[in-house]
Amino acid sequence: MACLSSSRLCARVQDKLMCQFGPKVRRQTVFVKLKPPGPSPLRIFGKTCQRVTTCGPACGSAGGGAVAGAARRLASSLQSTSTGSLPDYGTQIVDPYRLLEDDLNGIYEDIRSELERNTNQPELNTIATYYFDGQGKALRPMVTTLMARAVNYHVYGENSALLPTQRQVAMISEMIHSASLIHDDVIDQSDFRRGKPSVNVLWNHKKVAMAGDFILAVASMMIARLRSDEVTLVLSQVVTDLVQGEFMQLGSKETENERFAHYLTKTYRKTASLIANSVKAVALLSGADENTCELAFQYGRNLGLSFQLVDDLLDFVSSAQAMGKPTAADLRLGLATAPVLFACEKYPELNPMIMRRFQEAGDVEKAFELVHKSRGLEQTRFLARKHGVEAARLAAELADSPYQKGLVVTTDLVLNRIK
């Protein structure tokens, strides 16, 4: 989420972007800092916006011509971003994080309290709450809550509220995600995550594994307390998928075609499944019909795939500082992601490197270079965009609401982030 700090749509001109993308000329992602006229508060669909002076027109409908005009300029500048044109949002620009500010507020605190409530041991508490400091992107809770609200609106109309159970799902999704990160850090032996030492650097493997289990146990308790068999099955599927995805990463496939299919399945399991099933869960809790639940699922699936593809792309183009962790990380781990798999087409010498997992001296550097020389990055971006567009298309089938717009905007945010 390039330009979004914890909860607002602020303006920043991203000079850095120009350097990162090398010879290809890129349009900058520009967001404009705007001051709406007058001190009167703006309203979106009955919700009053606070802190209006510092941000752009996240609040839509009311407010007058000047704001609408500014909004259109904003919309048009959004459209000029690198991944190509997306539908005009009209005069209502939506920032999902701001939109859900009240809902998302305190989500990390609530997770931490839930964990704290379940142990008497300070060390366990410290390790378990390490990644819930609010420094993460909070993408999963945000998307989950967004979909919950959008589906609630779709089913019940304007006066629908976020159900407490749906908020729990948002928390659960973040907890499952963190538990898997904690375990992944052990497997990948990563040193840094989110700009601070990763959890396995500070504590030994056993304690870290246990802490991950603890988070999972508490998340399972929370899932059970939702008292919905359907939702339990849907969310437990996520955990299975995560593990199977990790197992897939340990193995490898022979032929190129198999490899790509393998990569996509693995990507679904490791990333998209959590998002897809979380949004499906909130749709179920909303009481939506089967079609809507399936729509939510497919939205999540496409968004998740798009997200991961961009992640894989960023590993090749971003800087260590921006990412919060070192780059070319995937290659160093021996992982062949989409850019590499695409690059194989032009540079078959990558094939043996993939098979030996870039273990030989110089493999990582050579592969990195070849990927940049090939069309791999472009093709990855294209695929990411394809999934993003599909997700946006699905979201558009829900009833009009700021949340539905938010879902569409999110697909854009995922595509345009720099970290």
Partner: protein, 405 residues
């Protein structure tokens, strides 16, 4: 005590405790007790662990595991115990849950969903609890790799071993969650999930040495009788006990035991009662019965460990903990070793413990537990299953006494 698998023991079914007297009691061979119990519930639990072995992921894991052969990875030592039956192994956990399930009888409207008096859902639960315990145990075998240099060449292998261990454990825990979902009983899911939470809590309880092995806590001075750990009556969905019990001898030991085994076994039994809709009283009884069985089992393990490994027994086992409580100066062995950063003098501690009345208290505790088990299991109506449970407990009880005497 040698296990004699060729021993041909004829077993009598006791209809009540009064039939059994010291003279009449025959030596019950553990394996026979288990086999008979298995027959009663109609399920060969010795195969319980093999089913998931036939799954793809685990087959892959086996391939990865082979690479560990020749390394010192702790998993290899534990693997033998995980697959082959022994008195200290996990399979009996599933068996006990099945026995308690049968012993509690079934409601009339569920008569079509069982085999041998155990509901299919109860069988599934027994397997889930076994898997949960196995998954957690596997995670416990992770090697401590903090000091890379210590391991030298072996470091890479140990790291790889840790990865496999982590994934395999995760796989089992994921299967558990899926299995619980399939039972379509949210209360049971919640209950068993708290069981996993308690297992992890047990791993962090109290003081630890550099290798993360548990150490006894410093004994507390007051003899405040109000502070007794009442595990039978606490709300077991919330966290168990509190750190206040550390340093209080029996209470510390009870808390640790409940966390590391009692909770899961007890909740497994309680969950089985829930699935059969036996009502709140029976659910509580199930939990209490499971808890006491775990306690007596742990007593046996601790005593056996103390007497058969006089140079490496667990420092938080019952003999040591009770000794420290009775005679706080015994704690100095632990404290001095910690402060002077040297290994514990196991042999001297051994004699120090034996010099106290620790073993006497242990015997009392053993008798108390046996009595509690008999009392609570007598509330379960189905004869053969109930007797099998009592026989198992009795066997454990007797063998423990054998060590002490």
């Amino acid at each position: 005590m040698p296990e004699s698998s060729t021993c041909n023991v004829s077993l009598r079914v006791f209809s009540s405790w009064s039939d059994v007297s010291a003279g009449q009691r025959e030596e019950l061979d553990w394996r026979n007790v288990v086999t008979e119990a298995e027959q009663i519930v109609g399920y060969p639990t010795s195969f319980l662990n093999l089913r998931w072995l036939l799954n793809d992921e685990i087959a892959n894991t086996a391939i990865h595991l082979r690479k560990l052969v020749g390394t010192n990875h702790p998993l290899l030592k534990s693997a033998k115990n995980l697959l082959i039956g022994s008195k200290s192994n996990l399979q009996s956990v599933g068996l006990i849950i099945l026995l308690v399930s049968k012993a509690a009888d079934l409601p009339h409207n569920m008569m079509d969903q069982h085999t041998s008096g155990v509901l299919h859902t109860q069988r599934a639960l027994a397997e889930i609890v076994e898997m949960k315990r196995t998954g957690h145990m596997i995670h416990k075998t992770m090697a401590n790799l903090k000091e890379k240099e210590k391991h030298g060449d072996k470091y890479k292998d140990l790291l790889y071993g840790n990865k496999i261990v982590l994934l395999t454990g995760d796989y089992l825990l994921a299967m558990c969650l899926k299995g619980l979902g399939g039972l379509r009983n949210a209360e049971v899911t919640e209950l068993i999930s708290t069981g996993l939470r308690d297992l992890v809590e047990g791993d962090f309880l109290g003081e630890r040495d550099d290798e993360n092995n548990p150490l006894p806590s410093k004994p507390k001075a007051s003899n405040d009788l109000n502070v007794r750990y009442q595990w039978e009556s606490e709300d077991n969905l919330g966290k168990l006990g509190s750190n206040d019990y550390l340093g209080r001898g029996k209470d510390e030991w009870l808390l640790r035991t409940m966390l590391t085994s009692g909770s899961l076994l007890g909740k497994g039994c309680q969950g089985a009662m829930k699935l059969a809709r036996r009502g709140e009283q029976m659910e509580r009884d199930g939990y209490i019965l499971g808890g006491h069985l775990a306690i007596i089992w742990q007593l046996y393990l601790d005593v056996r460990d103390f007497f058969t490994h006089p140079y490496s027994y667990s420092l938080v086992g019952a003999p040591v903990i009770l000794a420290i409580w009775e005679y706080p100066t015994v704690y100095s062995y632990i404290l001095e070793a910690k402060l002077e950063k040297r290994p514990i003098e196991y042999k001297q501690l051994y004699y120090a413990v034996r010099a106290t009345r620790s073993l006497e208290y242990l015997t009392l505790l053993l008798e108390d537990e046996m009595a509690a088990i008999l009392k609570i299991s007598d509330r379960f109506p189905v004869d053969d299953a109930r007797n099998a449970i009592q026989k198992m407990a009795l066997t454990i009880h007797d063998e423990t006494l054998q060590y002490i005497e």
